[in-house]
């Protein structure tokens, strides 16, 4: 325990002088990096626009209210598309995520040296790229539309679902698996009766959780042309139809709140 000798006797200190100095320099470095970053952002900002921002915000708000309620008639079909993108995308993702998760989990992978790293790479690569970027890419490849949105959501979700699922698989109780194995069950029977029942609740939870996230993401996929309500949002923004924009934002907000509520209810019922 570091103690500082002073005229009035020893004084207790939390850190030694070296540690205190190292901490101080760490903080200095951190603050310097932050200020440098802020400087770069500030250089690229037209400050006149920023000082003008409250007026602009008030202007946009006054143009956006009241929302154009009758526009809702043209939104039903995009809303249906949006829900389909999220749901079908989630289902497709789960179908692909299950084998990846079994290959990535330490206790079920056929080969920890060759196959597991590949599965982990798939998980990281699909997870680290946003669904909007996947959508951009897929639109360039298979053309704009709902289908590109479904595939984008599916690919983005593989990594997320597989990661959570393989963690659940690694945490299963080995004794149950051993009991099934001891009855002389085949590899697939062990899977079906020893492993699957243990991870089924986790699987259902992950599915609903990801579906909730996917509803959020599918509402904005249309911004890049991948179908759903985002297309209407993009169109309204481009024509500066602010009353329509505010209505669409309200619909999106409502969809997000409802999906979160549904997901919380279902997860509460499962767990």
């Amino acid at each position: 325990m570091p103690v500082l000798e002073s005229d009035a006797g020893p004084v207790w200190r939390k850190r030694t002088k070296g540690q205190a100095l190292a901490r101080w320099f760490g903080w200095l470095l951190g603050v310097a990096i932050f200020l440098w970053c802020w400087q770069r952002i500030s250089d690229k900002t037209t400050w006149f626009f920023v000082w003008d921002a409250p007026d602009i915000a008030a202007d946009v708000l006054s143009r956006a209210t009241p929302p154009r309620w009758e526009y809702i008639d043209r939104l039903w079909w995009p809303i249906w598309d949006t829900i389909n993108i999220a749901t079908l995308g989630t289902i497709a993702a789960l179908i692909m995520a299950v084998p990846v998760a079994f290959l990535a989990a330490r206790n079920t992978t056929p080969s920890a040296i060759f196959i597991r790293p590949i599965a982990l790479l798939i998980i990281v690569a699909t997870r680290s790229i946003n669904s909007l970027i996947w959508a951009l890419l897929l639109i360039a490849i298979i053309g704009p539309g709902v289908f590109a949105g479904i595939v984008a959501i599916a690919i983005r979700s593989i990594g997320f679902c597989a990661k959570l699922l393989y963690e659940a698989i690694e945490e299963i109780d080995a004794t149950q698996v051993e009991a099934i194995t001891a009855t002389g069950a085949s590899r697939w029977q062990v899977m079906a009766y020893g492993i699957v029942p243990q991870i089924a609740p986790a699987f259902a939870g992950i599915a609903v959780f990801r579906w909730d996230i996917n509803i959020r993401e599918s509402t904005v996929l249309g911004l890049v042309g991948a179908g759903g309500i985002g297309l209407q949002l993009q169109g309204s923004l481009n024509t500066l139809a602010w009353p329509q924009v505010s209505l669409i934002l309200l619909v999106i907000l409502l969809a997000v709140v409802i999906s979160e509520w549904v997901s919380a209810k279902v997860r509460g019922a499962i767990i």
Partner: protein
């Protein structure tokens, strides 16, 4: 099963064991299954797929996958560098500001620390921040503040508040009361109580969450450029629009590499603080 009598067990002899169903009530099970299948059919039928277009696009898909084998970091090198730097700058600045703002809001949103009015206000802020997605906030902020990284910086800071405050507040609410009470019993002031009674209990989680949020902020900063809020997204969008797959592949590889590095660092740091 466990309360089966001898007679029931006798009846079961010779019959095949069946897996218990997930949903106990038969009519509910069938209603769920039929409803789901009906929805699936309706959904699949309503999706229009131009298979000819998909078939033609497969060549381009193959070209893109091939581009990952030979990514082009050089020919748009300066654009990629500038975009990446801007993304990183936005990530750092917004994480710092977002975390600094979210700590007091998290204190306010913890029911065992804050009085009810403060609690309601802070929970309201969290709810608004969580309900609005980054990209929509970015669109609005670009409209208000103009193009550039400032809009992206504000968007990410705003999103950080909702994420971090919520999780941190939950951690504060589930902390050990006795430790905080012991500090309070020494006659400490409110600030001292927070500093010595609460902070030590939630600091490991705060560090872990902060690093995780830096990771998320970086990933999000990669798409903000699509709506003009600065970062690598604009470069990436241009690369896709021009079908320059080798440049796009290079950018994606850099993003994946940085995210992997951040995930590794966060794993090391979390192992050390816990």
């Amino acid at each position: 099963m466990s309360v089966a009598t001898h007679r029931e067990l006798d009846d079961m002899l010779g019959t095949k064991w069946r897996k218990p169903a997930m949903v106990k009530r038969t009519w509910l099970r069938w209603a769920l299954v039929i409803g789901f299948v009906a929805y699936l059919i309706a959904a699949v039928l309503s999706v229009e797929v131009n298979w000819l277009r998909v078939w033609e696009g497969l060549d381009r898909g193959a070209a893109f996958v091939a581009a990952f084998a030979s990514p082009d970091f050089v020919s748009r090198g300066s654009d990629i560098w500038a975009g990446m730097l801007e993304s990183i700058v936005m990530t750092v600045a917004s994480s710092v500001v977002g975390i600094l703002i979210s700590i007091p809001i998290a204190l306010g949103a913890a029911r065992n620390i804050a009085p009810l009015p403060v609690y309601m206000v802070c929970r309201g802020i969290i709810a608004v921040s969580r309900a609005l997605q980054e990209i929509i906030v970015a669109i609005l902020l670009v409209a208000i503040f103009g193009f550039g990284p400032l809009a992206g910086f504000l968007t990410l800071s705003f999103a950080t508040i909702g994420f971090l405050s919520k999780l941190l507040a939950e951690d504060i609410e589930s902390m050990d009361r006795s430790q905080a009470e012991a500090v309070r019993a020494t006659g400490s002031k409110w600030a001292q109580w927070i500093d010595y009674g609460v902070t030590p209990q939630v600091l490991p989680r705060l560090v872990g969450l902060s690093i995780y949020r830096v990771d998320i902020n970086f990933r999000e900063s990669a798409i903000l450029g699509l709506v003009g809020a600065g970062g690598i997204g604009a470069t990436l969008n241009t690369a896709f629009d021009r079908y320059e797959y080798d440049t796009a592949a290079a950018i994606l590889l850099i993003i994946i590499a940085i995210v992997m590095a951040l995930e590794y660092i966060s794993g090391v740091v979390r192992a050390r603080v816990q």
